[in-house]
Amino acid sequence: MLDFVQQLVSGIALGCVYGLIALGFVLVYKATEVVNFAQGDLMMLGGFFAFTFIGMLGLNYWLGFAGAVAAMAAFGMLAERVVVRPILGYPQFSIIMATIGLGYFLRSVVGMIWGTDDFKIETPFSDGVLRIGSLVLAYDKLSVIAATIILCALLYLFFNRTTLGTAMRASSENMLAAYYMGIPVKRVVSIVWAISAAVATAAGVLLAPITFIHSNVGLVLGLKAFPAAVLGGFGSIPGAVVGGVLIGVIESMAGFYLPQGWKDVAPYIVLLVVLLLKPEGLFGVHTRKKV
């Protein structure tokens, strides 16, 4: 039983990281219908920025965190401007390819600059543990869970309560109509990219104590975050987090109770089953086709 709870908590913590990356997918998808395959790599880059600020320049943790988030927000806007804006509105396949290319590029360049070793960011939460009875919970895992809840709530409020959030939803429904209504669609899109890069950075920094950061971590985790986003139904913010947690728990349970090898495929098997039964994901809205 204790093992079960322990696995559950670490699964949830891992799942929250997937959820955070998935949030980035969902944000961009919600506003622009673009699926950003480079999201995991943005997360990795954010982690490396934070590592540079905190580990190499010796800044305070929170200052470094904020610096990395700001730098990545700027980078997200730059990436949007250079790679995405010219092809906005073209078939999804081209956009998927462009973001795959971007991911490739980021991964290799990071590998060339920082090397291919594993890096670790010292956080205030490292090494501390919370003991409840005989249950041992590491602070870094709890911090991930807490941060995910806060971020998720903020984003939910942002999308549903602010003018900018409404503008984003409008431009995702129908870009041209939104444009006619006076919404600066281009600026909205670039803000969305900034936010999603910032969220990815938060995920990267929170992740650093759990898994070390290295240049391929984005690919590995990004590919886990996809099932998370799809499980939740692309385009649903709560869905992304729930999907992420599900994937994390499934993975951690499969790693503990099933023979070796199941850990890595279990999330995908669950994903395929869910897609078979409910092609629009668990929280997806089924819209009727208009002819």
Partner: protein, 383 residues
């Protein structure tokens, strides 16, 4: 230029638009046939890879280019073909049998993947095919009684009608070339048949195709099966070429490379698959060339512009360090993909068409002929 007037349906579905194609393709084939006697063995070996990649490219083109179903799982189909060959070879099954068996089995698996894919579109389909590829990769690593797990499998030298065909010899090259040419001709014929036209109809508009009486699900499954089958055939050749296969060779990376083949070559054309394969295979020798020669050239240029010997040596060292950095290949791949998507969405074949049209219409060529229209999208969720 030659004006083609199509006056009846038969004109529209000809294998080649006009007889000139027989001449140009004939010359190309003749050159490819004498290639082993002219080119170095290294280049012939690269040509074999071009043939294999182009075969996969044709397979993927049927699915992605002509039916409009994106797939990032084709490495898995290649793996199934390769492993079928390696497994059957242990029991002394003759090459033609396991070659066809590899294609057939992969085709069946492709159809099985096609069924769940029926209900999925766009991004969901991409993720589903990635998931499938991961599962196959894991199965290959774990099913040790058949696949020997991570140790990998040796593939014996191919023997055809009692003759050994070493994977570096010209005969193997001819075999791969024959497979490629047959695949291309077969695909061309497929595309002018009702099946192929149904594929294209589904790509252009599923709803319209359905209302014209096309059985969309049937043709989507067919497309998956044919595409996978061709990839499986290429997998058998791939296994022989490398003479050793292991699960970590068939990763997502490889699937992405196949997508690069059709993307850079030019989606929607079979020429594109071949051009893309040439591009992808030749990028490695090109990078080697960069590594070996470019630093020297740069330093030489610097020296001619008055840099003293110390600076020139420094420049040489820096250039060499950049050229031999670990991730350079990935970075170049990334930049190439992005640039092609941004500036040449029709790929290399599209570029060739533009050049050809320029000379045909000279001096009347209009620069905006291929310009893309700016479009605004409605949500795909409502489509």
């Amino acid at each position: 230029m030659r004006f083609l007037f199509k006056t009846d349906y038969e004109d529209d579905i000809k294998l080649f638009p006009h007889s000139g194609y027989y001449v140009s393709y004939g010359i190309l084939i003749a050159f490819l046939l004498i290639a082993p006697f002219v080119l170095s063995s290294y280049l012939v070996s690269q040509l074999v890879f071009v043939c294999i990649y182009a075969t996969v490219g044709v397979g993927l083109m049927i699915l992605t280019g002509f039916t409009g179903q994106a797939s990032l799982g084709h490495a898995a189909f290649l793996a199934i073909g390769a492993y079928t060959a390696a497994y059957l070879q242990q029991y002394d099954v003759p090459f033609p049998v396991y070659f066809l068996a590899g294609g057939l089995l992969t085709g069946v698996v492709g159809a099985l993947v096609g069924f769940p894919a029926l209900r999925l579109t766009g991004i969901y389909l991409v993720i589903a095919t990635i998931s499938f590829a991961f599962i196959v990769e894991e199965v290959l690593a774990r099913w040790e009684s058949v696949t020997h797990g991570n140790e990998g499998m040796r593939v014996k030298t191919l023997s055809l009608f009692g003759q050994a065909v070493p994977q570096n010899g010209p005969t193997f090259y001819y075999l791969c070339l024959a497979v490629l040419v047959l695949t291309i001709v077969g695909t061309l014929n497929l595309l002018r048949s009702p099946t192929g036209r149904a594929f294209v109809a589904i790509r252009d508009s599923e709803t319209a195709a359905r209302s014209m009486g096309v059985n969309v699900s049937l043709y989507k499954v067919k497309s998956f099966a044919i595409s996978a089958g061709i990839t499986g055939l290429a997998g058998v050749l791939f296994a022989h070429k490398l003479s050793f296969i292991s699960p970590e060779m068939f990763t997502l990376q490889l699937s992405i490379e196949f997508i690069i083949v059709i993307l850079i070559g030019g989606t929607f054309s079979l020429h594109g698959a071949v051009l893309g394969a040439i591009f992808l295979v030749m990028i490695d020798p090109f990078l080697t060339y960069l590594k070996d020669d470019l630093p020297g050239i740069i330093a030489g240029v610097a020296a001619t512009f008055g840099a003293d010997s110390v600076t020139a040596t420094k420049i040489h060292a820096n250039a060499a360090a950049i050229a031999s950095a670990n991730g350079l290949k990935g970075a170049i791949y990334g930049v190439i993909i992005v640039l092609f998507v941004l500036f040449e969405p029709l790929g290399l074949y599209g570029r060739w068409l533009k050049i050809k049209l320029f000379f045909q219409l000279f001096p009347l060529y209009k620069r905006a002929t291929f310009k893309r229209q700016k479009i605004y999208v409605k949500s795909e969720r409502n489509r």
